[in-house]
């Protein structure tokens, strides 16, 4: 496995065009195919079971749900540095992602590269739209906690905007504004937290604040907001109206591929960084769909060395809108996500009463 260090040396993660990117990524992905085949028995069994076996390995995308049902790792237990878990709020089973030192370094470096593109090289004052306990209570809020821990290093003077009862902490916010009003700062939170506990609260109180030098980063999905018919446009315009922030970036990421986040550009599209790529598949055939057609999002990443997560099939729907020609100037694919796949209907004669 050759080192991916030269990729981290690139000035920006959005410089390479389609052919350049393919040329760069393919050998790494191929190496990862071999590495995980050798090191992860479960992955090898799957490869050996599919039609074509190893010859078709590059078409094999592991459904992310497999990480809930199985321990999939390519390292011995003494190499495990940490185990990431997905949010376990509603479903009983959580994904377990085993991270070793190399993968952890890869993830950090990739995230740094991506974030630097938007915020520059210095740590910025950071306002977190959540309450201080969120990173302490690992069992309840693991996804939110992990998100905050992930972006923590890009901030300084970390300030929580909510108190432990989820009320807007006016004193904390006032102090933050007072101190950093004229500097660039980061506001970070989960999309629905920002909307429900911050924006809607400010609106209810008839209050506006001035954080015009801030950049908002938010993630975590739109499902809860769609119920209130809030789309990205509404979200942005309300944020602008109540906080004066005009740089608002949604981003898409998953615990199965930490480090490679897909950040929204000023034109409203999510961008694939150099470390990873997105493909829109038709699950009926597993063939790639043409641009501008929606389908299930598959993601490739060169970061995961410790677990076979280099080619994954998500359960999210999305559309690739184009490649290399986004008006924002970034190269690579740009896309939109449309939320989770609809759950299967209950069919057949088994356990209908029980599940109602």
């Amino acid at each position: 496995m050759k080192s991916i260090e030269d990729i981290f040396q690139l000035d920006s993660p959005y410089l390479l065009t389609k052919d350049q990117k393919k040329k760069m990524l393919d050998p790494y992905l191929h190496d990862l195919d071999n590495l995980h085949y050798e090191k992860c028995i479960s992955y090898r069994k799957i490869v050996d079971a599919i039609p074509g076996g190893r010859n078709k390995q590059s078409d094999l995308y592991l459904p992310v749900r497999l990480f809930k049902n199985f321990d999939l790792r390519s390292i011995s237990s003494d190499q495990i540095l940490k185990t990431l878990t997905s949010s376990g709020t509603t479903s009983q089973q959580v994904s377990k992602i085993y991270i070793d030192k190399i993968t952890a370094i890869n993830q950090t470096k990739a995230l740094v590269k991506i974030m630097q593109h938007y915020i520059g090289k210095n740590r910025l004052p950071m306002l977190i739209i959540d309450h201080p306990n969120v990173i302490k209570d690992r069992t309840l809020f693991s996804a939110r906690g992990a998100g905050i821990r992930g972006l923590w290093t890009f901030g300084r003077n970390h300030t929580y905007a909510l108190d432990n009862e989820m009320n807007v902490d006016d004193d904390a916010i006032d102090a933050f504004i007072e101190k950093f009003k004229h500097q660039k700062s980061i506001i970070f939170g989960f999309t629905f937290m920002i909307w429900k506990y911050f924006i809607q609260e400010l609106e209810k109180q008839g209050r506006t604040i001035d954080l015009c030098n801030s950049i908002v980063f938010h993630s975590g999905g739109w499902k809860k907001l769609q119920d209130d018919a809030v789309d990205n446009e509404t979200f942005k315009s309300k944020v602008k109206q109540l906080t004066e922030v005009s740089h608002v970036h949604n981003f898409y990421g998953m615990v199965e591929q930490v480090g490679t986040i897909y950040v929204e550009c000023e034109k409203g599209y999510l961008h694939a960084p150099i470390f990873s790529d997105v493909k829109i598949l038709d699950p009926a055939t597993m063939k790639e769909r043409p641009h501008k057609q929606s389908g299930v999002i598959a993601v490739e990443s060169i970061l995961p060395v410790s677990y076979p997560g280099h080619r994954l099939l998500t359960e999210d729907l999305g559309t690739v809108m184009g490649e290399d020609d986004c008006e924002c100037g970034k190269k690579g694919k740009y896309f939109l996500i449309h939320g989770r796949l609809k759950k299967a209907e209950i069919r057949g004669c088994s356990d209908t009463y029980a599940v109602e």
Binding site: S42, I46, I50, P63, L66, G348, S350, D351, A354, E356
Partner: protein
């Protein structure tokens, strides 16, 4: 306040009749036969119902001639015996094999029972259509007297109404699987009442490769079409839907020919498979590949998934997700299956094997399997279901010396 909705009869606003006892009718009484065959005619002539093959099958099943046939079987079986209806039968219908509740209801009605059917709140379009037809017929003056014998209700599953209906029935018919049965049977029925339970079951198909190898293309397509009907209706999640295919006297060529014919028929079938179903299948396939020794066969698309494996794995059907996924294996003699077939097995649909051969085999002693039917008839309902003769269980016998 009980949260209960009367679906049939329509004009009933109050539900006090639910708890009344009504005098039972004689088995196969003329009035009921008239009603059932009127129901059949209505379904078979309704253009709007033509697109539902399950409803057409239902319509055929209850034609006057078939009802007469069942009557004859019942009478010859019970010659010299006095059979009366049990009384009030409380049916708990499954949510998505929409037609099951009608079979359950009509067999019980033909036996002369008064019936209360709890319709699932997740029922589909077909249930709605069937309810409309029931109400239309019960609105006719000649059938008005049956209104007390056909009551359909809907209510929350934790409702006290379940307790009350259970406490006042003479037989309770529970469709819907192991968890449902566990839940419902916690609610007591009177000491003199009986429960008839339809638990989770699996089914498979038995194919003779030699017989299929000699088929013409057309004949093979017809067989494939029947197989697709059996397995892709209800998303392959009915108890009778085949989930495994066992080959006898086969080779790779004939198997390939068969599955290719199946794929052609799937494309013509209104299978209603969605993105999430395909992903569920991948999760199942890859999970099984990790745990067991399988080969995922190459198919034209994920609409058909075939997993080749050995006899130790071919019946690993617990986590089976439906949506057109088959575990496949081969045998040289039927007796190889005998020790594998537990109470969990319901239907064997077969092709190319003589009925006598099957009878010989099952007569040698089997723990499971309730029915063996030719491919294409897996989903056909029959008054003997899961090994229960409903006409027997829904009646009582009176001895006169």
């Amino acid at each position: 306040m009980m949260n209960i909705q009367m679906l049939v009869p329509k004009q009933t606003i109050e539900h006090k009749n639910l708890f009344k006892k009504f005098r039972t009718l004689a088995p196969f009484s003329d009035g009921v036969i008239e009603f059932v065959s009127a129901f059949s005619s209505k379904i078979l002539v309704d253009q709007a119902l033509k697109k539902y093959p399950e409803l057409i099958a239902l319509g055929f099943w209850m034609r006057k001639s078939s009802i007469r046939h069942y009557k004859e079987i019942f009478e010859s079986k019970n010659e010299g015996r006095i059979k009366l209806a049990r009384g009030t039968v409380f049916h708990i219908a499954p949510s998505n094999v929409d037609t099951i509740f009608i079979y359950s209801l009509f067999i019980s009605l033909l036996m002369g029972n008064a019936n209360i059917v709890r319709i699932s709140q997740h029922s589909g379009k077909q249930t709605e259509l069937l309810i409309t037809v029931l109400n239309e017929l019960l609105g006719e003056s000649q059938f008005a007297h049956l209104q007390n014998y056909i009551q359909l209700v809907s209510f929350d599953h934790d409702s006290e109404i379940l307790t009350k209906l259970s406490a006042s029935c003479d037989a309770r018919v529970i469709w819907g699987g192991d968890e449902t049965i566990a839940l419902i049977t916690r609610v007591p029925i009177p000491p003199k009442a009986i429960d008839i339970k339809f638990a989770n079951k699996y089914s498979f198909t038995l194919l003779n490769g030699k017989s299929i190898a000699v088929l013409t293309n057309d004949e093979r397509n017809i067989l494939a079409k029947k197989f697709v009907n059996d397995s892709y209706s209800f998303g392959q999640m009915a108890c009778s839907s085949p989930r495994a295919v066992i080959w006898i006297e086969s080779n790779a060529i004939v198997r390939k020919q068969f599955w290719e014919a199946v794929e052609r028929q799937i494309d013509r079938f209104d299978h209603n498979l969605h993105d999430v179903d395909f992903i569920n299948k991948l999760v199942f396939e890859y999970g099984l590949a990790i745990e067991k020794d399988i080969k995922i066969c190459a198919t034209g698309s994920n609409k058909l998934s075939v997993l080749w494996t050995d006899l130790n794995t071919v019946f690993d059907l617990d986590a089976h997700c439906g949506s057109g996924l088959f575990l496949e294996s081969k045998i040289t003699s039927l007796h190889e299956l005998s020790s594998l077939l537990t109470k969990d097995f319901q239907t064997v649909s077969y092709y190319g094997i003589e009925k006598e051969q099957l009878i010989d085999w099952i007569s040698s002693g089997l723990n499971g399997i309730d029915r063996l039917v030719p491919v294409g008839q897996a989903l056909d309902f029959y008054p003997v279901w899961d090994g229960f003769d409903l006409s027997e269980f829904l009646t009582r016998e009176v001895t006169v010396l």
